[in-house]
């Protein structure tokens, strides 16, 4: 029995290891590439043993363009997260807690915004943005990202609010609290984990989004994923600098996730009340 247990344990660790390597290898390769010279990046067969240099990073940090796209991304991702939650959470609450005519229709309409691939909306977006004069602005890109994120926020949070035992809110009504007060003082604090989780997903989505950012922005408001692509030139691709700037862009997300990992898992796997 003991050996059976051991085999089971080894097998599961092996599977996890394979999966981890599968996931982490690209990041390792990115890191390795960022520490090579441009010549080494093109070596065939690929070099695993080399003398790491940090010149690429020095170059990147001194490049004002990189800082520009970095802050653009920060503004757009934060703005998207903030407004998606501000709009989506109350909407989810109303859809989850109040019965009214057309309730499920509204939920479906909100979800249906995700049924077409974003590229299908790109041309109408472009034309509209051109007419309104919000091409290449932060607010313009934030609006586009909110429209793609809102359904996610509404559907996840709606599930969260639905799982919340109704007695908790009913107690609050009986205690004399208004519907709005109950929302602020009871329902919102209880669903904090869910909001953090959804917020992280919004932030990640917006930080990584490429298509909308590529078409709807230019020099002024372009974000990290678009910025990185500038290292792909007409005649050569500067792999080392590209990798270094990509690493530079991953780091904030990485730190962010390390801090909020617990809440992300809690929020996505558990109900409101445990």
């Amino acid at each position: 029995m003991n050996s059976k247990f051991l085999v089971k344990k080894i097998t599961s660790y092996l599977l996890i290891l394979i999966f981890a390597v599968w996931c982490l290898f690209p990041i390792y390769w990115l890191l390795a590439t960022s520490l090579k010279t441009n010549l080494q990046t093109n070596a065939d067969p690929p070099m695993f043993i080399f003398k790491p240099i940090i010149d690429n990073y020095r170059l990147i940090i001194q490049d004002p363009d990189i800082w520009h796209v970095f802050f653009n991304s920060l503004i757009v991702a934060s703005g998207t997260t903030f407004f998606s939650l501000v709009l989506g959470v109350p909407a989810a609450y109303v859809l989850a807690k109040f019965k009214f005519k057309g309730n499920s229709d509204y939920s479906f309409w909100i979800l249906s915004t995700r049924m077409a691939p974003p590229i299908a909306m790109l041309i109408p977006f472009y034309v509209m943005y051109n007419n309104f004069g919000i091409l290449d602005t932060h607010i313009g890109l934030i609006l586009a990202h909110i429209s793609l994120n809102l359904s996610l926020v509404v559907w996840i949070m709606r599930g969260f609010f639905e799982d919340m035992p109704k007695e908790i809110e009913e107690s609050s009504y009986i205690d004399g609290a208004s519907y709005l007060n109950t929302f602020y003082k009871i329902s919102l604090p209880i669903s904090r984990n869910g909001m953090v989780a959804v917020g992280i997903l919004c932030f990640l989505f917006s930080w990584n989004e490429f298509l909308m950012a590529l078409i709807l922005t230019d020099d002024n408001a372009k974000t990290v994923p678009v910025g990185i692509s500038k290292f792909v030139g007409y005649q050569l691709i500067k792999w080392a600098e590209l990798a270094a700037s990509a690493m530079f862009m991953i780091v904030p997300i990485f730190i962010f996730l390390v801090f909020f990992q617990k809440q992300l898992i809690k929020g996505l796997t558990m109900g409101a009340i445990r």
């Binding site: 007695e167 107690s171 009986i174 205690d175 003082k185």
Partner: protein, 354 residues
């Protein structure tokens, strides 16, 4: 007006439909000041719905609710000045016990919050848990917190929805007596929902017995026990329940397969049930008996025996203080207490005055 007779709550023709299912039908009820009303009934009889309609958490399909003679149909739960204890307690999980108790006081801008909280917290014995979160408490402790939260205000009516059903037996017994004591001490109006007839019998000043969305009988526990108005009430109230024997009345005599010529005060010829409580049947020792029945089993209860007997392949119960000297399958001679039995119409189940 004498405050004791003041009408606290009045329900007029309350009906409730969920889609097409009717869960409450023309329900009428008057509750006076200081009453402890227990709404009793099997699960799904509409008793919780009725309580939620009183609280304003559910809107009735038709009918009127009056609290202290004011029509509250259009009022939200916030404006009805009631408090409620839920079956699952409904505590605020993100607040400590103290904040849970403080919340209704804050909302209603009550002064002397600290004083009131410590008064009630010590009364329901949770003073040492004030700094804990609900999830750090046991079921019984949570129950007390929920109770304290309902008590910190002085509402017009206290509503309770099966507040003891999640507790274990001994705790339930303890809380039951505490609730009864509290009711007398507070001198206020309680409306309490339960499916447990013992809870209802012990707590209520009056019981409202419900079945299938309508009120079957309203009365004191004694009234419901000694004069049930139909077969359902007889079988629901009392533990063990009432026995029913099928038979026929003819010329003021009741006859069944086994019982011959039992004198009744009813001349009509009709099919009936004879209802008799297990305590009102006796094992005959002098050779005079009304019928004989086969012993199926006997259970020792401490203060006596509970006999399960078989009559026409139907089981019925008899309670006796006497020591059991019979063997299984033996025929036992049995006497019916002539002042204690009831007759019910066979078809409608309603009582026949005899």
């Amino acid at each position: 007006m004498d405050s004791k007779n003041q009408i606290k709550l009045k329900l007029v023709n309350i009906s409730k439909k969920f889609d097409l299912t009717e869960v409450l039908r023309d329900t009428n009820l008057e509750v006076k000041e200081k009453e402890f009303i227990v709404i009793l009934g099997p699960s799904g009889c509409g008793k919780t719905t009725l309580l939620r309609i009183i609280a304003g958490l559910e809107k009735q399909t038709s009918g009127e609710v009056f609290i202290e003679n004011i029509n509250v149909n259009k009022k939200d739960p916030q404006d009805r000045d009631i408090s409620m204890v839920f079956q699952n307690y409904g505590l605020y999980p993100h607040m400590k016990v103290k904040q849970n108790l403080e919340y209704p006081l804050k909302i209603n801008k009550v002064k002397n919050k600290e004083e009131i909280i410590s008064k009630w917290a010590s009364k329901v014995k949770i003073i040492e848990y004030l700094e804990r979160y609900p999830k750090q408490l046991s079921g019984g402790q949570r129950q007390r917190v929920a109770l304290a939260r309902a008590l910190v205000r002085s509402p017009k009516i206290y509503l309770m929805d099966e507040p003891l059903s999640n507790l274990d037996a001994s705790l339930r017994l303890e809380m039951r007596s505490e609730l009864k004591h509290l009711h007398e001490e507070l001198g206020s109006t309680f409306i309490y929902v339960t499916h447990d007839q013992i809870e209802a019998m012990t707590l209520a000043t009056r019981i409202v017995l419900m079945n299938n969305g309508k009120i079957e009988q309203i009365g004191t526990p004694q009234e419901l026990y000694s004069s049930p108005s139909n077969v359902f009430i007889g079988s629901f109230i009392g533990s063990p329940p009432m026995n029913f024997i099928e038979g026929e009345i003819n010329n003021s005599f009741f006859n069944s397969n086994n019982i011959k010529d039992l004198k009744v005060n009813n001349r009509n010829k009709e099919k009936v049930y004879l209802g008799i409580r297990p305590d009102d049947l006796k094992i005959s020792e002098n050779g005079i008996y009304d019928f004989k029945a086969e012993l199926f089993s006997s259970e020792y209860l401490g203060d006596g025996y509970l006999f399960t007997l078989k009559l026409d392949e139907k089981k019925f119960l008899l309670k006796s203080q006497k020591i059991n000297s019979y063997k299984t399958s033996e025929l036992i001679p049995i006497m019916i207490d002539k002042n204690k039995f009831h007759l019910f119409n066979f078809d409608s189940g309603n009582i026949i005055n005899n």
